[in-house]
């Protein structure tokens, strides 16, 4: 570390500083591992216990007899495979809709500047003041009977995909990024004969990969983590259309404890792998909106 922080390097190099530092560092590393990795250890091992062992008093700290069959039960009987497919389908569908509609809208607002563009942008940002949870009731009623066209989207994937497009934060991030692309570049493309669509596709988008990555990660994790909305619009169909969150919670009421934990563990694997692959992007995306202005 080159930059100076709270404690100076020279203080750390003194004998007393070294001892204090070593003690603190060890405590933090051990403590954090216990607090944050400990529960994950149980998440993955408790599913390997037999039903009897999983509710034994006192609880065992590791499975005394390993039953990988619990995971298989959760996958087939609990239908976790189906739930996983549903969740991925909703998440990537929402991502596709958001990328197409929100990128087009942000491009129009930033570079094409239509009449009322500013007012529309303001209205889009105003939705950030009202968290979606507060609007679930009217949103649900609207989705069950769309105004003018009178379609009922409840139970269809569109009930998750289309509301995902109305994301003021994505529009904001995208527009801010597009604003930073010099107009001269677009003018040059226009002189070369590129239309608006072509300019977006061949000039703007290739430059926007970082922000597209951030928006994509937000879009996928939002669906992956959502609970209330999919509970309202996708629950109660056969074969199930539920998401992992909703499905495993509902199955939990009637399943043995070890199967519940195995199902929870299976549901946790894809996002954890996703995180380990994209952790750099995810963690920098997290601060993109908050710090870098």
């Amino acid at each position: 570390m080159s930059t100076r922080t709270l404690v100076s390097t020279s203080a750390l190099n003194r004998r007393r500083g070294r001892i204090v530092y070593r003690f603190t560092a060890t405590t933090v590393i051990v403590g954090f591992t216990l607090i944050f990795l400990g529960p994950l250890y149980f998440l993955f091992t408790d599913g390997l216990k037999s039903t009897h062992e999983s509710v034994q008093v006192p609880p065992t700290l590791y499975p005394h007899a390993i039953h990988p069959g619990t995971y298989a039960d959760a996958w087939t009987v609990g239908g976790v495979g189906r739930l996983l497919f549903n969740t991925l389908y909703y998440a990537f569908g929402a991502l596709a809709f958001q990328l197409v509609f929100d990128v087009a809208a942000a491009y129009a607002l930033s570079k094409l500047r239509p009449v009322f563009g500013n007012a529309i942008f303001g209205l889009m940002l105003s939705t950030l003041m009202i968290p979606a949870t507060v609007l679930v009731v009217p949103q649900y009623i609207t989705v069950s009977d769309l105004p003018i066209v009178h379609m009922n989207l409840v139970g269809t994937p569109e009930a998750i995909w289309l509301p995902a497009v109305a994301n003021g934060f994505s529009i904001f991030l995208l527009k801010r990024f597009f604003d930073s692309i010099p107009d001269d570049l677009l003018a040059a493309a226009a002189i070369d004969g590129a239309g608006r669509m072509r300019t977006l596709w061949s000039v703007v988008l290739p430059m926007s990969r970082p922000i597209l990555g951030v928006v994509s990660i937000f879009a996928v994790t939002a669906v992956w983590k959502d609970y209330l909305w999919p509970l309202l619009v996708e629950a109660g169909y056969s074969p199930t259309r539920e998401t992992l969150n909703v499905g495993i919670t509902q199955a939990a009421a009637t399943s043995p404890q070890n199967v519940v934990i195995a199902a929870a563990a299976i549901a946790a694997i894809p996002p954890l792998i996703f995180f380990l692959i994209f952790q750099r992007n995810i963690m920098s995306g997290l601060t993109t909106g908050s710090l870098k202005g």
């Binding site: 809208a105 607002l109 009217p138 609207t142 608006r196 919670t249 929870a264 963690m283 997290l286």
Partner: protein, 334 residues
């Protein structure tokens, strides 16, 4: 929560984003005023073509529900005695008076505010201290950053089902650990005195990673010379935290405070899963959003969208104030 972290919407370049043709590079020779008009018209139409998908989605799923919630909160729906058709009439403030007289109403607000305060106490101070310590470490920083963020990535149902298992007073891990340490055991989510705290602990474990990383990034932006200067002036470690770290991160701290209030007051899934439906023993964990859900989608048949909307409007007003505070704080950044 991170999705709401933003800075200074739409102010970057006020002159430029305005509609009209002024900002565009001259289009070369044109076919007189009529041709220019047609071209401008075509340009605006094309631009709105790009906008239409998003605007329709916002209109249907955001703007319209917002207005509709307010309207519905002043209406009443009952079935006509003869035709059995649902009929909607204006109800004035009836929905509001009805929910205010519901004993669960006060309880739900009390729980929500208590949860927010507890969550802030734990979820605001702990990540800040954690971030300060992490920022001083010369080892294992990458590992620790990944560690605190792991729970954030878990599907909330996974984390909460696991905590529900840990919290079980018979075969749960937590009571076992307490027994091993010879500490008094607890009923956790099954007793009204400890349920809300148990909900808060689970929620903090799940969510603190994001906040910690944002603080960490803010700490890394503090110029090292400030610490240098403070140290030369004789400030100890606590003095440096007080006179350098906190003032330097004050803005991000207050922004996160607003965001966390908005986030925690939307408490729903934690009580809903941990206490099987969200009420908890003696309604000790029912939150405002849980109550909205109960009003609107009560399976026992007494569902009432209008009461739910009235409660939704009240929550919208409260959260709107904090969101506005957040946006106001973030206005002079960037």
């Amino acid at each position: 929560m991170a999705e709401q972290v933003l800075s200074r919407p739409g102010r970057r370049d006020p002159g430029r984003a305005r509609g009209g043709s002024g900002g565009r590079p001259a289009a070369g020779p044109d076919g007189g005023p009529n041709g220019r008009f047609l071209r401008t018209l075509r340009r605006h139409l094309a631009a709105h073509g790009f906008l239409i998908g998003a605007v329709l989605c916002f209109a249907m799923f955001s703007w319209y529900p917002m207005i509709r919630e307010i309207i519905m909160s002043f209406q009443q729906t009952h079935r006509d005695k003869i035709t059995r058709q649902p009929k909607t009439t204006w109800a004035g403030l009836q929905n509001y008076t009805r929910i205010i007289h519901d004993p669960t109403f006060a309880q739900a607000w009390k729980n929500t505010v208590e949860f927010s305060l507890l969550a802030l106490l734990i979820g605001f101070a702990v990540p800040f201290v954690t971030a300060i310590i992490l920022n001083e470490l010369r080892h294992a920083r990458g590992y620790l950053r990944i560690l605190v963020y792991l729970p954030v990535m878990l599907p909330p149902a996974s984390a909460l089902l696991l905590f529900q298992y840990f919290y079980d007073p018979n075969y749960g891990l937590f009571d076992h650990l307490l027994r091993m340490l010879h500490l008094p055991t607890s009923q956790f989510v099954q007793s009204s005195s400890s349920a809300l705290v148990s909900v808060t602990v689970a929620s903090t474990w799940m969510n603190m990673g994001g906040t910690t990383l944002i603080y960490l990034a803010a700490l890394q932006n503090i110029p090292g010379e400030l610490y240098e200067a403070a140290e030369l002036d004789g400030a100890g470690i606590l003095g440096r935290i007080r006179h350098v770290t906190i003032p330097q991160t004050r803005l991000i701290l207050s922004m996160m405070l607003m965001l966390q209030i908005v986030g925690t007051m939307q408490l729903f899934i934690e009580p809903f899963i941990l206490t099987n439906g969200g009420a908890g023993p003696n309604n000790s964990t029912v939150s405002v959003v849980n109550l909205i859900y109960q009003y609107a989608f009560n399976l026992s048949g007494s569902s009432n969208y209008n009461s739910a909307s009235a409660l939704g409007v009240l929550l919208m007003l409260v959260l709107g104030v904090f969101s506005a505070g957040y946006l106001w704080l973030s206005r002079d950044r960037d």
